[in-house]
């Protein structure tokens, strides 16, 4: 809790950025809302920031802003932020997803915006690519999976999810369930049975 704070005035003086820039970055969500902490001071209210975090972030923005648009930077931070909260070692960005999979996704859901994909969806697209390369499932089956993920994208959590694909009498079914609480008849042909996390780590390591 005893994090070192820096006032807005000192921050601007130290980094040499202007009020306009600071507010612009806040608007684009490059600087998270909850870093702006209001505290009463002798001049009334003043805004403070967690010193370490904000200095690191501004340094990064200054580095990136010359060759990337603010929207791109915002995307970098929003995706990596979500991951850092859950896994220290994993960061995903849209660039890592192979084009052919994105094409499948777009043909399936033409109205969706790629920038709005969340981590779970990005993961699922990576998996899909892997499965297709291995040849364990067909494109049609993959589409079913993507639709299933799409419908439950907000409910699926990365940490404790397993993905299972079974085929019985030639008919396949996708199951997305909770790890250790999902059971499948072992007589069925289980083509895919993976924990989302382990699988994800195998990609990045």
């Amino acid at each position: 809790m005893s994090e070192e704070l820096i006032s807005k005035k000192d921050l601007l003086q130290l980094t040499g950025i202007s009020y306009g820039q600071l507010y612009r970055w806040k608007r684009k969500n490059i600087i998270p809302e909850d870093w702006f902490m209001k505290k009463s001071s002798f001049t009334g209210q003043e805004t403070f920031f967690p010193k370490g975090k904000i200095l690191e972030r501004i340094e990064k923005i200054m580095e990136l802003k010359d060759d990337q648009s603010l929207d791109d930077i915002a995307r970098v931070f929003s995706i990596s932020k979500e991951n850092i909260a859950e896994f220290q070692n994993v960061t995903l960005s849209l660039d890592e997803i192979p084009k052919q999979v994105l094409q499948i996704y777009q043909s399936l859901l033409p109205n969706s915006k790629l920038e709005q994909l969340n981590t779970v969806q990005l993961c699922s697209l990576l998996f899909v690519n892997d499965w297709l390369l291995k040849g364990s499932v067909t494109i049609e089956e993959v589409k079913q999976f993507l639709l299933l993920v799409e419908t439950h994208k907000t409910q699926i959590k990365l940490e404790d999810t397993v993905v299972i694909y079974i085929r019985k009498f030639g008919v396949g079914t996708w199951i997305i369930g909770k790890q250790n609480e999902t059971f499948v008849d072992q007589k069925d042909a289980i083509l895919i049975h993976v924990k989302l996390v382990n699988y994800l780590n195998s990609f990045t390591s």
Binding site: Q13, Y19, Y23, Q45
Partner: protein, 267 residues
């Protein structure tokens, strides 16, 4: 996923109900109730309508009175009557010339108010322009904010360019606790009406825009009272009441302004 069936229109011209589903046009000219979520290309209300579910539509035109209890996703929304929405509003262009009330956040491309708009949430858009009255409980975020009339907020107004022309007399005081951005310009509407000029003099309504903190790269304010103004280049115009001005490059203060303290911040 492909909808093969042609969608149908739904009209209510007396009194009636429309059930949830997909439609082409939905028109209500009497009194109508929509029972669930609808997806359609056009909604037109010229009587009175109550939407119990979500509305997902390209156009919506409300010249009567309508109430929606859930979220609204819309490409173009036109209100010339009265519309009240309880859920979130997302989409494209919003044009208000009547009265519009929401109980939740607004996240759209542009907001154009020439009537009155009131929201309990916050307004997020590319462009906000107001020529009547706007009240946003949680503040607003946009690139360009232009207002002529009455503004009332309880949160931060964060915009690249802020231009406010206030005319306090006919609407009462405008109040925005915090304004932040690149260029900020607050001025008073020059009333050509001789009657209201005299009125202003008599009751000494000198300052009629109030704020606590105004921070921008270039700040220019007239007839405004605020506790702190901070910026690179600051111009304090006539009849301002400011406790503290902090600047880095340049400051100009009008002789009739009342400024308690001026500080230069060294970079």
């Amino acid at each position: 996923m492909v909808n093969v069936q042609p969608r149908q229109d739904a009209y209510v011209s007396g009194s009636g109900t429309i059930s949830a589903g997909k439609y082409d046009d939905v028109r209500i000219s009497g009194s109508g109730r929509i029972l669930g979520d609808i997806q359609c290309t056009k909604v037109k209300v010229s009587g009175s309508a109550k939407f119990n579910g979500k509305i997902e539509s390209e156009f919506m035109n409300c010249s009567g009175s309508a109430k929606c209890l859930s979220d609204v996703e819309i490409q173009k929304l036109n209100v010339s009557g009265s519309l009240s929405i309880d859920g979130k509003v997302t989409g494209g262009d919003v044009h208000i010339s009547g009265s519009f009330k929401t109980k939740n956040d607004l996240n759209v491309d542009s907001v154009n108010v020439s009537g009155s708009m009131r929201t309990i949430g916050m307004v997020k858009a590319e462009v906000i322009s107001v020529k009547g009255s706007l009240s946003a409980e949680k503040g607003a975020e946009c690139e360009v904010f232009t207002a002529k009339g009455h503004i009332s907020m309880n949160g931060l107004l964060n915009a690249e360019n802020v231009k406010i022309t206030h005319s306090g007399l006919s609407y009462g005081y405008s109040y925005v606790p915090e304004i932040g951005g690149e260029t900020i310009e607050i001025s008073r509407f020059d009333d050509s009406n001789i009657f209201s000029r005299v009125f202003t003099r008599v009751f000494n309504l000198g300052t009629n825009f109030r704020s606590n903190v105004i921070e921008g790269s270039a700040v220019k304010i007239d007839y405004t009272s605020s506790s702190v103004v901070r910026g690179d280049a600051v111009t304090i115009g006539p009849k301002c009441k400011i406790d503290l001005v902090e600047y880095t490059d340049d400051v100009q203060i009008h002789p009739s302004a009342n400024v308690k303290e001026v500080k230069k911040i060294e970079q």
